[in-house]
């Protein structure tokens, strides 16, 4: 088991948002969390990566319980997170953003920045073209590439993506999903939240429906796509 959540409870101040969520994920998988606006999808991801503290329950990752650890420690376990919004340093150049992605590994002998950079440039060629440009000056789609590339520099054991296709022009959405499949096929497991639920589930090994901070359905991507109940309640008619 790569990632295993057990009865995770979390929230902000007095507001409990995630009410005891369980989930499991195997190495190599793509798992997508879907659900209505405000269901707590982002909050659940934030809890997994330590941005929001787990109040109860456990977050086992590769056999270590990460619950209660701060984000700067969790990234050292090989879990890299791309936030839903504001996921780059706008006043840093693209290259500097990528260097920040390598922060936990810098100086470690197993890590070679230039090797990883080559690989990330292969995946996201636009980053090489724009390396010296201020990241905040790029288009929304390119900024999303910077964010993904920054998370991929470490060659993570798990890539956590919050709505990677949000705000992208329609033709870029497909491109983004192809990228995600490509990254996964190259060996990186992916846990993501998506509003483009059908497109995401089609490319996922498994899906989870989160509603009101609880998981309502779990199954393979196909099972969720085929379920009438899920379709009616959560997939809309796209």
């Amino acid at each position: 088991m790569l990632l295993e959540l057990e009865s995770v409870v979390s929230g902000y101040g007095d507001a409990i948002i995630v009410h005891g969520v369980d989930m499991q994920m195997e190495d190599g998988e793509v798992v997508t969390i879907i659900g209505p606006n405000g269901a707590g999808k982002s909050t659940l991801l934030k809890t997994v990566v330590g941005v929001v503290e787990a109040r109860e329950g456990s977050v086992q990752f590769n056999g270590t319980d990460l619950a209660g650890k701060p984000p700067e420690e969790i990234v050292e376990y090989g879990m890299c997170y791309v936030r839903q919004n504001d996921n780059i340093f706008p006043n840093l150049s693209v290259m500097e953003n990528l260097k920040m992605g390598a922060w936990p590994a810098e100086g470690k002998d197993w890590f070679d920045f230039d090797d990883r950079l080559d690989e990330v440039y292969d995946q996201f060629p636009v980053l090489e073209e724009r390396a010296e440009q201020r990241a905040g000056s790029l288009s929304g789609g390119q900024q999303q590439m910077v964010a993904m590339g920054t998370a991929m520099i470490l060659d993570p054991d798990l890539l956590v993506l919050d709505e990677p296709s949000a705000g992208l022009a329609p033709q870029l959405v497909d491109e983004m999903f192809e990228k995600i499949v490509e990254i996964n096929e190259a060996g990186t497991p992916i846990l993501m939240v998506e509003q483009n639920a059908r497109a995401a589930l089609r490319r996922s090994d498994r899906g989870i429906v989160l509603d009101m901070g609880e998981n309502r359905f779990q199954g393979t991507g196909e099972e969720l796509l085929d379920s009438e109940e899920v379709a009616e309640l959560y997939l809309g008619t796209d």
Binding site: E72, V75, E76, M100
Partner: protein, 287 residues
């Protein structure tokens, strides 16, 4: 109107001091996100420590300057541990108010130890040479050169070093820098070490240019804030440009308004800046 070169020169000297102190203040703001009102009093404390080493203990001014810088560098970290750290998660307003308390404490401590009257450094007497009708002192030349070197050094640090890039990243978005793995508490430590050292140095430069008094730094704060805000708060390059601008504007104004009012220039620049350029001289784009 023809600019009097002497006034421009004086403005460059004052502008250097304002630039350096504004840079220190803006670095601290970038990471800690609060306006440290005590910064002017850190400057004064640096000036006094150097004065004690120089005039009271009789050591050369070079040694005194290093002592003043080191004491303020370490002193800033100590003050952070004793005071500011406990309010880290509170609102910027709370921190601002706490820093007003720290400011009063330092100023009155200086007054209690060294008295309310002014002091001067014990400097070797040198003639003031003149060039193209501008009279200048060795201290003034030193202030300008040292300021430029320091500004260059900080620029290189922020652009080229790992820690410097992380400081800019944390100043952009502190939580995102933690997500990328930065231990921001460690950054806070470095930023106090550097910001405190810069405060000490700029206080000493202020003391070299004028005189050493308990409220010397506090009086300079308006001009420093004006530079920081004019430059775009948290933008180091803007703070430096703002500093030189305010310094020159303040000194050149003496040609047209009574010199007691020259400190008002900073205030006016501050107000005009806030009204017309709320994002600073360069906007967000050059940070």
């Amino acid at each position: 109107m023809v600019l009097d070169p002497q006034l421009v020169w004086n403005g460059l000297v004052v502008g250097s001091i304002i630039s350096v102190s504004a840079l220190g203040l803006t670095l601290i703001f970038g990471i800690l996100n609060f306006i440290n009102i005590a910064y002017g009093d850190y400057m004064a404390a640096g000036a006094y420590v150097a004065w004690a080493v120089n005039a009271q203990a009789g050591l050369p001014i070079g040694v005194a300057i290093v002592a003043g810088i080191l004491v303020m560098s370490v002193g800033s970290v100590v003050l952070d541990k004793l005071v500011f750290q406990h309010f880290r998660t509170r609102s910027p307003i709370t921190l601002l108010i706490v820093s007003i308390g720290v400011a009063f404490f330092i100023r009155n401590l200086l007054r209690a130890i060294w008295g309310p009257s002014g002091h001067f450094y014990d400097l070797p007497m040198e003639a003031s040479p003149s060039f193209a009708g501008v009279r200048f002192s060795v201290e003034q030349v030193a202030i300008i050169v040292v300021s430029l070197l320091l500004l260059l050094g900080v620029y290189v640090m922020l652009r080229r070093t790992r820690i410097g890039i992380a400081m800019r990243a944390a100043s952009d978005d502190r939580m995102l820098s933690r997500i990328r793995g930065v231990d921001t508490e460690k950054l806070v430590l470095y930023v106090w070490l550097i910001g405190g050292a810069i405060a000490g140095l700029s206080g000493i430069m202020l003391g070299l240019d004028a005189q050493i008094r308990p409220n010397m730094g506090f009086t300079a704060l308006i001009a420093i804030f004006a530079a920081v805000i004019l430059g775009g708060i948290g933008d180091p390059k803007g703070a430096v440009a703002g500093g030189y601008f305010i310094g020159v504007a303040q000194e050149v104004s003496v040609a047209v308004i009574p010199s007691e009012y020259k400190f008002g220039v900073g205030l006016v620049a501050l107000i005009i800046g806030l009204l017309t350029r709320p994002d600073g001289l360069f906007g967000e784009a050059t940070r």
